[in-house]
Amino acid sequence: MPWIQNLKTHERTQPMKKIYGIILALIILVIAWNFFGPKKFHSHPEKEFRFVIASEPPTLDWSLATDNVSADILFNLMEGLIQFDSDLNVKPALAERWDISSDGKRYTFHLRSDALWTDGKPILASHFVDGWERLLNPKTASDYAYFLFDVKNAKEYNAGKLTDFDTVGIHAQDDHTLVVDLWHPASYFLKIPFFWVTFPIRKDIIEQFKDAWTDPKNIVTCGPFRLKEWKHDYSVTLEANPSYYGEKPKISTATAYIINEDSTALSLYDTNKVDLIRRIPPLLISHYKNLADYKNSPFLRGYYYGMNVKKKPFTDSRIRKAFSLAIDRSQLSTILQGNQIPTSSWIPKGMFGYDETIGLKFDKEKAQLLLAQAGYPKGEHFPSIKMVYDTRDDNKIIAEFLQSQWKEHLNVTVSIDNQEWKVHLKMLETNPPELWRLGWGADFPDPDNFMNLFTSYSGNNHTQWKNKEYDQLIEEAAKELDSQKRLTLYQKAQHLLTEEDVPIIPLFIDSQNVLLKSYVKGYTLNPMSNNILKNISISKND
């Protein structure tokens, strides 16, 4: 009885069709609303600033933090003794003034008396002493303890040779006077207390809450903002701190969204979900360059490939030199398109000691000659080696560029591998491969911060390269107050690092490529890319 079946299906499909119709109409309505509906739908509160950070901040405990992401938050929650203006001149912060003794060894910081913690207690010199003790305490195991090694007995205390902190040259003379004694005069020492590891701490809070002291409900800070909310792996929200001693921020909240894909961040920016992003993938930069929102400014950051000098074939300095000589770095600026400056030396442009003449410039014949002398004429029988970078779009492009340069100029095949940032760092600490990528950004604007990196005692030197002459030059330069003599010392050290022994291949000096909405005013791009939000304001007049 086919007609009965037909009837049944007919009855069933009729109401179904109606439901589909209604659903379709709804979908069309929603889409139409999105396109043509009132634009206020997407707007956000006037005084909220939204930006992007590349990962979850590993920690907000400023004695332990070592990375840029934590710093993006910490520089707004806290302040140090001094701060920098946009041209990197030293300005007072928690210290309203300071005296330096005539021999350059004693620094006396006079603290502001009106500065308060968020729980209402005044900031005392002893809070700085506590903070510096915690940084140097061997139990804290901070990577950045060596920042204070110019201070009397600090290295010994950190090594556990001295147990009485009173012997270390850091004392609170009274509630508002901090005295620091150095082993030797150090021209850059005044710039160090800008760095987050030197911020004061509240020992009572840390002891009370233990590891949970950085939770929003426990943390006590003293900067222009305070921590309002921390949704792990999603966002960190800051709000203006009403007890801040200085001018109060003009925005009420600042939210950092944790987004690790650059292209995702870009599309959020395009759809007005965030107001600031600070990295643009090279493939897209030419598209955004013409926008009024695009800002470009210099950056004290070096991009380099390191070589493991304990691993063959890079045990031979001739091969290391050949690899550095075989790169035509001038092409990097064409590829990257963000005003990056190709460099063969290590101290970045904009910093004392920059010298573009130092380093191994592109020289194909010399590179081939050195490779032949090392036993691989025309790259024959060269062992298989690997270069490893941390997964990021620009790193991939640069790795492919280097691979083809070495293939073309040396006839050497290098295989490429990539891994996540945390895995990458771990591998560099335990067993670095033959070739690996890293960058180094200035913690404070002094060449010591860059050159110190490759000393034999630096925890961040993954090349396994240890050179006594280099160590000595860096130590001497740190003490030297005469800038001409200091410059000569750094030139010698740079020669050694990038021309003679060559444990690293410097590639270019990075630049800041930023997209900032035009309604945000007062955001400064300082050459250390410090994310300082206290001066910004948002004015939407449309």
């Binding site: 090279p282 493939l283 897209l284 598209h287 591998d417």
Partner: protein
């Protein structure tokens, strides 16, 4: 036998989409084979001064961010994609056929055990398995072959087992057994030739599946490492800039699309042609 294959070919030649697909596949395979003769430039030759050009007379498909000719890269990419597709499909076919026919022919407890192993592999999330194998065997080509084969042979073994189960109850097999023909001989001489049709159909579906899987792996960054590139990794490179430089994703994307479509249409046509039940339908 002869009539079966000639009948099949007749049916296939009447199926225009399948025939067209067959020609397209032959064309792509020829391109892959003679990539070094066809490509106007080397796949890894960089020229940053000519970066990110749109398709023009010198660069028919434009250039990428390092100034490499996209047409050459797509041509060389076909080599990677097609060889991954073919090798993975053939490997899974061999493993799956042997496994499936053994399981089906022997039967009983062994069949039960072997099929439970297949079930376990089936329930295991394949992407997870692939990532695991890639981590152990590194990022080379071998790792991709192995990972995709391990995931791919499972389907084949099930199909083959089903076919064998059906066949072994048939009179001519029983007759062979009764005369005392060795089991190995029965499997290779009597059973396998009779299930060749379904096996070939499976092959034509396994190849595009492997090509797609490889593209997907390369797209999420688990595939080939530079300077080698497949269509998937090319699409991944161009993906971000699809607004400003659409050519970077359109050409490799369409290559994947057309090839996979062609294999699927051909597979459909072959199934219609080789399945006796559908004959004269």
């Amino acid at each position: 036998m002869n009539t079966l294959w000639s009948d099949a070919f007749k049916t296939l030649s009447k199926n225009k989409p399948a025939l067209l697909s067959l020609f397209f596949i032959i064309f792509i395979i020829l391109v892959a084979l003679f990539a070094n003769l066809l490509a106007p430039y080397g796949y890894e030759i960089q020229n940053p001064s000519q970066r990110l050009m749109f398709p023009n007379r010198t660069f028919w498909m434009g250039t990428d961010i390092l100034g490499r000719d996209l047409l050459s890269r797509v041509i060389y990419g076909s080599r990677m994609s097609i060889s991954v597709g073919l090798i993975v499909a053939i490997c899974s076919l061999i493993v799956g056929t042997l496994y499936g026919s053994l399981s089906g022919y022997v039967g009983g407890k062994i069949d039960n055990l072997l099929m439970r192993i297949v079930d376990i592999l089936y329930t295991f999330p394949s992407l997870l398995l692939i990532i695991l194998i890639r981590v152990i065997f590194g990022q080379g080509l071998f790792g991709i072959f192995l990972a995709l084969t391990i995931v791919g042979w499972v389907d084949v073994s099930r199909i083959v087992r089903g076919q064998v189960l059906q066949l072994k109850e048939m009179a001519f097999i029983e007759a062979a057994r009764a005369v005392g023909v060795k089991n190995r001989f029965i499997i290779f001489k009597h059973i396998l030739p009779n299930i060749l049709g379904p096996i070939i159909v499976t092959l034509t579906f396994e190849i595009p599946a492997a090509i797609l899987s490889e593209s997907f792996l390369s797209f999420i960054g688990l595939g080939l490492q530079p300077p080698f590139s497949s269509w998937g990794s090319l699409a991944n490179d161009g993906f971000q800039a699809f607004k400003s430089f659409p050519h970077l994703i359109i050409f490799p994307g369409f290559s994947i699309f057309l090839t996979v479509l062609a294999f699927n249409l051909l597979g459909d046509g072959l199934r219609d042609a080789l399945d006796p039940k559908l004959k004269n339908a």
